[in-house]
Symmetry: C2
Subunit: 114 residues, 2 copies
């Protein structure tokens, strides 16, 4: 992989699990998106960011609550960002992560919810 993929979650938009059989490509895209959510540390990071004041949090605010090292937290945030669930804005020395609006809703719809 030579380039960073962004807004991966949009790739699974329009496809629905319960409609017709997923193509091989659509299944791979959706699986890649779901894989970003298939980790307890990443789910907790998402929920903590969502519950933070201003809807954003920096890495230093996240390492404590999840009980993981700074490199590990940074890695998980990168996975979530590349999957299209988080956005990153660097201000000074700090990197603030925020939920991408509608990203989780797109996954919900891909799962067949109306």
């Amino acid at each position: 992989m030579t380039e960073i993929e962004i807004t991966d979650v949009t790739a699974a938009c329009g496809t629905s699990l319960v409609g017709e059989p997923l193509s091989e490509a659509a299944a791979a895209d959706l699986a890649h998106t779901m894989k970003a959510l298939a980790d307890p540390a990443r789910l907790r990071l998402l929920s903590i960011v969502a519950a933070s004041a201003g809807g954003e949090a920096c890495v230093c605010d996240l390492t404590g609550p999840v009980g993981l090292s700074q490199p590990t937290v940074s890695h998980h945030l990168k996975v979530l960002t590349e999957a299209g669930f988080l956005s990153r804005s660097k201000r000074g020395t700090w990197a603030y992560y925020a939920l991408v609006p509608g990203a989780l809703d797109r996954v919900s719809r891909a799962l067949g919810a109306a």
Copy 2:
């Protein structure tokens, strides 16, 4: 793990990602449920079962479309069944798998959708 877990998907019911920070246990439960959906083969199996006539399909109808060996398909179906997404009913020599109604909807709601 000495016992088979059933209706795993119900464990994540009532919790929402965007509400308040997930507890360690809730995150582990939801991650386990999402992990069952984080594989292209399993997503295709779910969609094929959903699109089958009568809403159910036997293993022999599934090995061909997904292009995997019979033991591998059987393994994926077991994961989906233990996660609460599929139900298994054996009639004669055949094992028919069907979608568990509402299972995917519960995941959608856990993701924060209204």
